[in-house]
């Protein structure tokens, strides 16, 4: 083997501005391997395995349909409440799982990150990728349910992966921030559930955003998930309210900003965090 083809590793005390993307790309196979590992470990010693993943949004949908849909008659933008809620919880639970798994991922990998090197950025990335596997059966079930209600959206369904991608990228970007901080301060994992719960109430998952009074709309729209969730619902359910383009644009801008700042923070604090996991 000639010397020239070998990858050169430069080790330096100088902090990097951004993670080493070339190195991460060389290790790209690792991201999916780690994701598979996460999934295998999660369902080891379970009986129903990934069925739990389908059950979770289904149960949430059931409760919401009974309590909010039937008892309280919460507006669902003209859609059957069950379909409305199920489409919302599908994308929401993917986001929620991706973010909460990503947030604890670095600290939970202490045994491996302190013994071998690989681009650490792949750890939160793998946590997010693993949720794709969780999402697929739920997504399939959602299509069946929507079709059963006679609300199959047609070609526009091809836009739905874009919204899924947007939700997962958002989870990854915020997850970068949270996981590197969580490795140093475990406070992060303690507040994550509360933040997610607040975010759930502030997102159009269980109610249509038409219930938000006009003068609060702009403020409400600052939640970047609003555009993602309405967009996803529009792409999978016929007759759902079309998304607000500004909301989607804002979600994209938010993802870019959060990702850039998250990557910078990660590059800066990674080594500090690994020494203290």
């Amino acid at each position: 083997m000639s010397n020239a083809e070998l990858p050169v590793t430069a080790i330096s005390s100088k902090p990097r501005l951004m993670p080493d993307f070339a190195d991460a790309w060389r290790h790209r196979a690792l991201a999916t391997t780690l994701a598979w590992r996460n999934i295998k470990i999660r369902y080891r010693q379970t009986i129903l395995g990934s069925l739990w993943i389908v059950l979770q949004p289904l149960l949430l949908t059931g409760v919401l349909t009974v309590v909010l849909g039937m008892f309280l008659s919460v507006p669902s933008g003209g859609l059957p409440y069950a379909v409305f809620a199920f489409s919302g919880t599908t994308i929401w639970s993917a986001f929620q799982r991706a973010l909460s798994d990503a947030a604890i991922s670095l600290a939970s990998s202490g045994n491996i990150v302190q013994k071998v090197y690989f681009p650490r950025m792949l750890i939160p990335a793998a946590a997010v990728i693993a949720t794709v596997m969780d999402l697929l059966p739920v997504y399939a079930l959602l299509i069946v349910v929507v079709a059963a209600f006679g609300l199959f959206p047609g070609w526009v369904i091809l836009a739905s992966p874009f919204f899924v991608l947007l939700a997962l990228l958002m989870a990854f970007a915020i997850g970068l921030w949270m996981t590197v901080l969580d490795a140093v301060f475990r406070d992060i994992r303690l507040v994550t559930p509360s933040i997610l719960q607040l975010l759930l109430y502030l997102s159009p998952v269980m109610y249509s955003e038409t219930v938000v009074p006009d003068r609060w709309r702009a403020l409400y729209g600052l939640n970047p998930l609003v555009g993602v969730i309405t967009g996803f619902r529009w792409s999978v359910v016929a007759g759902a309210q079309p998304p607000d383009l500004i909301g989607i644009a804002w979600a994209c801008v938010f993802v870019v900003l959060a990702a850039i700042s998250g990557l910078m923070l990660f590059a800066r604090l990674e080594s500090f965090a690994i020494d203290r996991v």
Binding site: I11, A29, L269
Partner: protein, 411 residues
């Protein structure tokens, strides 16, 4: 382009001591966002400082030094597990690390899954790992268990698999820390052969940390000696080893060494405080020629009252860990009070071991062996007892012991 595999310049790693409260952490975390500036007020420890060296492709380099000399820190820096505080290094080629048993293995995953995971960590395509798969499994002798989660492996199987993965997945640079000692002697020999093959025929570069000086001798042509974070020697193996042996203090204070490990394994009611090794003339030494005499002295202190006390010492082969002999004596059949101190002296006249490195395993226990009070072995920084010989006849130095014998010839 040169054929240097590793070039390290002024490497240093600083740890801040006493970073105990969350407030300290917050302060440090905020500061680490800013450019590196000197610390004021904190206690700091340079685990490694100003270390520069270079390694040519295909070299096998041994790294020796006492506990806390910075060996592991150096390996962690070179394998990028932790970032240096100062200095830089350049490595040419993929770097595989074997810093501890089962490095990077996940206990819940099967041997098969872990092999592929390790390959991905090295940045290898799956197909390339698949090509090496059978070779790895055969070398590790884990064919029957390859689809069993590694958490059910014996420690021997675990090490064999970890080693096989690291050495067959062909990183251009292999970094190995004191891991071979866990396997059995036969496996260690095979591992060293494997490493030899990797450097000799395949041109791989190996950095090898070991307390096993014999392994270093057979396997490396050059050593780095570290002492309290500094590189004190870089050159031929024998010179490095004798410098290292000279640096070992004569009266070794073990009172506070690795107390955590000792308390994990024992009740801690009595504590070894000092160990000294003297020759027949009362001079301190950890070397003895065949037929010579040594006295090993152990001081102890009783921390909690005990009902009685026995002393156990095993002399073990430093290479294999196998006990060569053991001696057990009752120190006191009656209770010992808190605060009592004492000295135990073991005299071994007319040593009949063949040239070897001997490690000590020493315990204080209840006379019926039910409760151990303290144990020292590799957990503290005791040197090996070296048995040397000036004999030139190789049959006078071969093997482990010399037996008294008579030999007659008849017509």
């Amino acid at each position: 382009m040169s054929d240097l595999a590793i070039e390290a310049t002024g490497l240093g790693k600083r740890y801040v001591l006493g970073e105990n409260t969350s407030r300290d952490r917050l302060r440090l975390a905020l500061r680490s966002l800013l450019p590196n500036r000197p610390l004021a007020g904190e206690k700091e420890l340079w685990a490694l400082r100003d270390v520069s060296f270079s390694v040519t492709q295909g070299e096998a380099i041994g790294i020796i030094g006492r506990n806390g000399a910075g060996k592991s820190t150096l390996l962690k820096l070179l394998s990028r597990i932790t970032q240096p505080t100062e200095g830089r290094a350049q490595l040419r080629g993929r770097v595989g690390t074997l810093l501890e048993v089962g490095t990077g293995f996940h206990p819940e995953l099967t041997g098969r899954d872990n092999i592929f995971l390790s390959g991905a960590i090295l940045g290898m395509p799956r197909a390339e790992v698949a090509r090496k798969f059978d070779e790895i499994v055969a070398f590790a002798e884990t064919e029957r268990f390859i689809d069993t989660p590694v958490k059910r492996y014996s420690s021997g199987m675990y090490v064999r698999l970890a080693f096989a993965v690291a050495s067959f997945l062909d990183p251009e640079i292999l970094i190995v820390d004191e891991v071979l000692a866990v396997g059995d002697a036969a496996f260690e020999r095979r591992s060293l052969n494997r490493l030899n093959q990797a450097t000799g025929q395949e041109g791989r570069t190996i950095l090898f940390v070991s307390h096993n000086l014999q392994a270093i001798r057979t396997f490396c042509r050059r050593v780095l000696v570290l002492d309290r974070g500094k590189l004190t020697f870089d050159g031929p193996v024998e010179d490095g080893i004798s410098l290292y042996l000279k640096s070992i203090p004569r009266r070794i204070d073990v009172r506070d060494q690795n107390v955590k490990d000792r308390l994990n394994r024992t009740s801690g009611a009595v504590r070894f405080t000092n160990v000294t090794c003297l020759d027949a003339d009362g001079l301190t030494t950890w070397q003895v020629g065949i037929g010579g005499t040594i006295r090993i002295r152990f001081s102890y202190e009783v921390l909690e009252p005990v009902s009685d006390m026995a002393f156990l010492i095993q002399l073990r082969s430093a290479t294999t860990g196998q006990p060569l002999t053991a001696i057990r004596e009752v120190v006191s059949a009656s209770p010992l009070e808190r605060g009592k101190t004492g000295v135990l002296e073991l005299v071994l006249p007319n040593i009949q071991f063949r040239p070897n490195e001997i490690s000590l395993y020493v315990c204080l226990s209840q006379a019926d062996n039910r409760i151990f009070y303290d144990v020292i072995d590799e957990n503290v920084d005791l040197p090996f007892l070296r048995v040397t010989s000036t004999a030139t006849d190789k049959y006078a130095t071969m093997g482990v012991v010399s037996l008294p014998y008579q030999f007659t010839t008849g017509a």
